[in-house]
Symmetry: C2
Subunit: 401 residues, 2 copies
């Protein structure tokens, strides 16, 4: 199998031994504690699940600046995005060598991890500005990743961590949340050698299904891992269970047995475009994928990045940076001319009218009125699950006035 | 003069009496304390400075939901955006009747305000989703305002506050930061009756200057208040002192005496488009302006709002909502055809080539190479100040390698 990033084996920071976990928790209750921000909590869960191998905790300022400017830690490890624990207030932990990190996203703010504090440093405004510019490619406060990063605070708490749980992900998404270890094991036990990963946070329509199939065929992959980004729901999002049902039904009906795995990971979108695409590749390598599908404007937002910037960044990486390769894709859609799903950049003579498109708004309208989208857009089995969901929602809304 | 919003007189929550301020600070050091997030700290400064008259502190859930859905508090006050103090962790203040609110944006997190806690409540995920949808008009996490709001926490700490200082604004922007009381007084002492406010966070070029002049002439205003949004610098921003010099030089050379005031306020952009435009109007009424210039996509971002949504919302407000009126504007630029600055929607036969435009990137390039932009774009006096700034920056960059 493909090697984990920068290590011979995964280094999950989750404390799996129940006794040791209990002891740490008992100790943690006596330690000075820090309430994490959501970004740091998401990092801790990724570290726990082995996705961020070989990191052993949060970076200090020297590593963060080195990663921001040159995508290497001070010790030379290739890494695309600083992994930071930032805060506005160090009053509760000053002078402490060992602290409890508390979870902002779970009721009662339970302990998420225990940290050996290696350093508490203060970022200068210039350093913060440099990190933002280099990671996000812009310093515009209207960029959602920049907007959030600027709220996190200037104190940088660095050090190794041991993680006690997977925040709300294991409970809330028990059908889909999987660690890098679990996915790697499953790939191994399925006997797959070449494996292509696809990231989504939505139910998959025909165009997405075909994109996965195209990637698999062209790469000659044994299997596909549909790897869902899990996270707190926003209004209008399809609930995780419904999305999961849709994707599993599609896999069951339309893919050969033992060619697709469906699971997910817990993290927040950074909208950092090219840099985030590289991070996506790092943790897909860690879970055992040999290829990652990187689409148009992958992890981008607005007009901050060029359509293929997130693919081109991989061409400029040093040879030894990553073992995983990318499958660079364009949008896919049904072509009325060719009567099949095509990748848009591969059909030069098409105009927009030659494709079957549905806006998100129009699609939701149809589904909630019980009208199935055309089969060139959605598989009927997937449409049925979505129609049930939307009609149930409509009924509920009507009932609640 | 125009009346403050919902009150006969401004209600600044800043404790101006030095003795009382000292006593409160002494008391605050003994109180349980809460570190504010930046959004709540910004609200506290606006409350302190009288801009948010007649509010006396932070809203509870009932008021927040009522404002989100119908732009009225439960007691019927017109208000466009919930003013909230949200947190992830109430451990340090549970059961407390009086607490100290600490400033996340000033070294050492000094006390910013003292609060009488009226209630500590917990927002449900549905309530958070409803507020986001109604205030921002979208629940897309790629919207920077939504992205930040979602990080703030679910506990709602409501109650009246007394504010001890103006965070970093008074010190860092001493030339420009002014309270609503100060501006109202100055308008009064200048003897102005009709007053039009213009919001900016950039140096003003000819198009902005002419927009102010157009508004003044058409309204028949006695004066203009150029009211700068002050805040933490982002990379590439013109430093406040340089921006200030540019604007004051323009006013000195190109406007008649006693027709323009230049000052600023401390707040964060919400990017809430129409709702934020209404908030902008509320606090300009409080500072004594009778009109506010509302441009194209005012307070908007990306494609979330229609170009004139932020003007149209004012047409739908109840008659008694606000006393201030808006001056709805479009972009302005120099017309090569007409040899003057025009408002774009007022010249139907123009194509893009008929205007003198400069992209921000091109403008910075020219200025840093010591090339003055064309006089149809920038006043030479303003260009000179900006060239000095950029050339100084270039020299510095070269010197630092």
């Amino acid at each position: 199998m493909i090697r984990p990033h920068g290590a011979d084996a995964l280094k999950p920071l989750f404390v799996a031994d129940p006794e040791q976990n209990r002891q740490l928790l008992t100790e943690a209750e006596t330690l000075p504690s820090l309430l994490l921000n959501s970004a740091a909590a998401a990092n801790a869960v990724m570290l726990a699940a082995g996705y961020f191998t070989p990191l052993e905790g949060f970076m200090n300022i020297a590593d963060a600046m080195s990663v921001a400017s040159g995508m290497r830690t001070t010790s030379g490890l290739f890494w695309p995005v600083p992994i930071l624990n930032l805060t506005h207030d160090i009053g509760s932990i000053e002078g402490a060598g060992r602290i409890a990190l508390r979870d902002p996203n779970t009721d009662g703010n339970p302990v998420l991890a225990v940290m050996n504090v290696a350093s508490i440093e203060e970022f200068s405004p210039d350093q913060i500005a440099t990190i933002i510019k280099q990671v996000y490619g812009t310093s515009d406060v209207a960029h959602p990743g920049v907007a959030v990063f600027r709220t996190l605070g200037k104190y940088c708490i660095a050090g190794d961590i041991e993680v006690l749980n997977f925040s709300y992900f294991r409970d809330e998404f028990s059908d889909t949340f999987r660690t890098a270890m679990e996915i790697r094991e499953e790939i191994h036990s399925r006997g797959w050698s070449k494996v292509v990963a696809f990231q989504t946070r939505n139910p998959m329509h025909l165009a997405h299904e075909e994109l996965c199939r195209m990637a698999q065929e062209r790469i000659g992959a044994d299997g596909i891992v549909i790897h869902m980004l899990l996270g707190k729901l926003k209004e209008g999002d399809i609930p995780a269970a419904v999305r999961n049902d849709c994707i599993r039904k599609m896999v069951e009906v339309y893919f050969p047995e033992n060619t697709v795995m469906v699971n997910g990971y817990g993290f927040d979108m950074l909208f950092a475009g090219p840099r985030e695409a590289v991070l996506h590749a790092v943790f897909r390598q860690n879970m055992g994928a040999t290829h990652l599908i990187v689409g148009r404007d992958h992890a981008g937002v607005g007009d901050y990045y060029g359509a293929f910037d997130a693919q081109e960044i991989f061409e400029r990486l040093p040879d030894d940076a990553l073992k995983i390769e990318i499958f660079g894709a364009d949008h896919t859609a049904w072509s009325r001319k060719l009567n099949r799903v095509v990748m848009m950049r591969e059909v030069e003579d098409h105009t927009p009218d030659d494709y079957v498109f549905l806006s998100g708004t129009r699609l939701r309208e149809m589904l909630s009125q019980g009208i199935a989208p055309p089969p060139e857009f959605s598989r009927p089995e997937v449409a049925r699950i979505l129609m049930e969901h939307y009609q149930f929602e409509e009924t509920n809304r009507a009932a609640n006035g």
